[in-house]
Symmetry: C2
Subunit: 319 residues, 2 copies
């Protein structure tokens, strides 16, 4: 096999990559034409897009190509399920330096496939161009299966706030990797490949969720998006903020506060949703707060007080 | 107004950009949530994606931001109409350095809107991240309006080959700009903003086109894609290869061969299609060749001979 993608050539690379990406029944026309054609049985289509840039969103020294593929797919698929929809397909644009090892590009494809296949999602199209650093542009499509989309704007006074999935794990992994360590494996792996509870998105929609989003920027920031879009104040219960065991271990070793990671760490892509009071929630949905009033819209409190820790993340400003 | 996008901040920039992007009736939920929701009345959706990287696909010294917006939209919209579909929406991922002038980001949005608005296409979602160079990742969606997609694979022996739109203009503009000139304006403008005959795509489908693609890589290369996908040999008629007047003027000044630009220049996004013999074509569709035989599949001849000029373009190999 050609060692790098310039040896293989653009069309050779496209051929090698698409050979690794089987097409499911929802793909009416797959890669190789001007565009793909997908089934949209609902008569509506959900669409979201994210860019990942090397050394901004991932580092080749920290993550294998297959990890980057998993993560790139996961963060887009999470946005689809956060609307209450079932993901159907991805398109992927890859910008890559000419000397990128062919194995890296194929590993990326394997990671995309690995994340998509259990969900019956296909990588149905894409683009490959030259770039000094690796750029991965993913667009995910989804099907609402007849349901109304669950937006960020529907939370009402008295609703429960509940979360499903991990909080703070990716941040803990990032801290570990930043110090040059590779363990504990659990949090490092969580940083490389988020574990997204995909089926909890449609589940929440069927349970009557009034608002939902995925936790990509951090719990306080993303709950803030719901509070802001809904014109509500949301109060999180500090006693309900659980710090999972691996985070306690890492925080203790690093002398850090794991509660801050849980409240502000992003990239785990848990789902946070609001439900009418009294909704019977499956056990994996943990109630962490309430929607309290519309007189202070767009604010998030923790235990009745404005949260003092770092929150939010601006892509264009230094950390 | 903040001079650069770091001053404005990620959320300020998103707000300023989305304020410039009105949403049409096909957008059921626009920017601002985890994902957009679009109408897909046909029960199928066409999707295509392209990456543009600064200094690879455009140069800030050669093109204004509004031009880059037009071009980024155009090359994706052209892929949608080349399936015979009507474009409905774009999503746009922008990677940008923190010191990017705010005016540049807003100009990009204006260009995207300017290209989309006449087609009733909305920019329905996107992503913004930090990047050392500008990255524009566009995904376009389209609606087949009940028609079968026109793929590259349906050309049959005896079909006419016809083209609609400009050939070689963008290449001529590129040559002029590469020499440090800014005129003739007609070809320079053509390089900055392709003039795509969008409605010719659905028109070709309704006329019974058996295969179609847009000319993004060059006429010989893209006709080659049809020949290859259809398992046919396509013979182009050298007498039908028209060199438009502005190209003759530029070629004469530069001592170059304009026929090569017409046969191999990309990025004008003309449409090339095959039609059953005897199809009555509107005047803007110029017959330029025939589909001749299946015994030498995937080849393109010009006047019965293999074309000797440069053709095709490999993104990962030096020009």
């Amino acid at each position: 096999m050609a060692d790098n993608i310039a040896d293989l050539g653009e069309f050779g690379l496209i051929e090698a990559v698409t050979a690794r990406l089987p097409q499911g029944p929802g793909v009416l026309l797959g890669p190789g034409d001007d565009a793909a054609v997908l089934a949209a049985p609902d008569g509506r289509v959900v669409v979201t897009t994210d860019l990942l840039i090397e050394d901004r969103h991932f580092r080749r020294a920290w993550s294998e190509a297959v990890d980057v593929g998993h993560k790139a797919a996961a963060q887009n698929l999470a946005d689809v399920v956060a609307m209450g929809a079932r993901p159907t397909a991805l398109t992927v644009g890859l910008g890559a330096p000419a000397d990128l090892p062919t194995a890296w590009a194929l590993g990326l494809a394997d990671g995309l496939r690995g994340e998509c296949e259990p969900l019956d999602v296909s990588v149905a199209g894409g683009d490959m161009v030259a770039s000094d650093v690796i750029v991965v542009a993913v667009t995910a499509l989804g099907d609402l299966q007849g349901r109304a989309p669950v937006t960020r704007a529907g939370a009402r006074v008295g609703d429960l706030v509940a979360v499903c999935g991990r909080l703070g794990w990716s941040e803990a992994g990032f801290r570990v990797l930043s110090r040059g360590f590779r363990t504990p494996r659990a949090v490092v792996e969580a940083h490389r490949r988020p574990q997204v509870p995909y089926d909890a998105g449609p589940e929440a929609a069927m349970l009557g969720a009034t608002a939902m989003c995925d936790v990509s920027d951090g719990l306080v920031a993303d709950v803030g998006h719901i509070a802001s879009a809904s014109g509500m104040l949301i109060d999180l219960d500090p006693d309900a903020v659980v710090v999972d065991e691996p985070l306690q271990q890492v925080a203790s070793a690093l002398g850090a506060d794991p509660v801050e990671w849980v409240l502000t760490g992003g990239e785990d892509h848990a789902l946070v949703a609001t439900f009418p009071a009294g909704t019977e929630l499956p056990q994996r949905w943990r109630v962490i707060g309430t929607v309290t009033q519309a007189s202070a819209p767009g604010r998030v409190h923790v235990g009745g007080e404005a949260y003092g820790g770092g929150s939010g993340h601006d892509h264009f400003r230094p950390h």
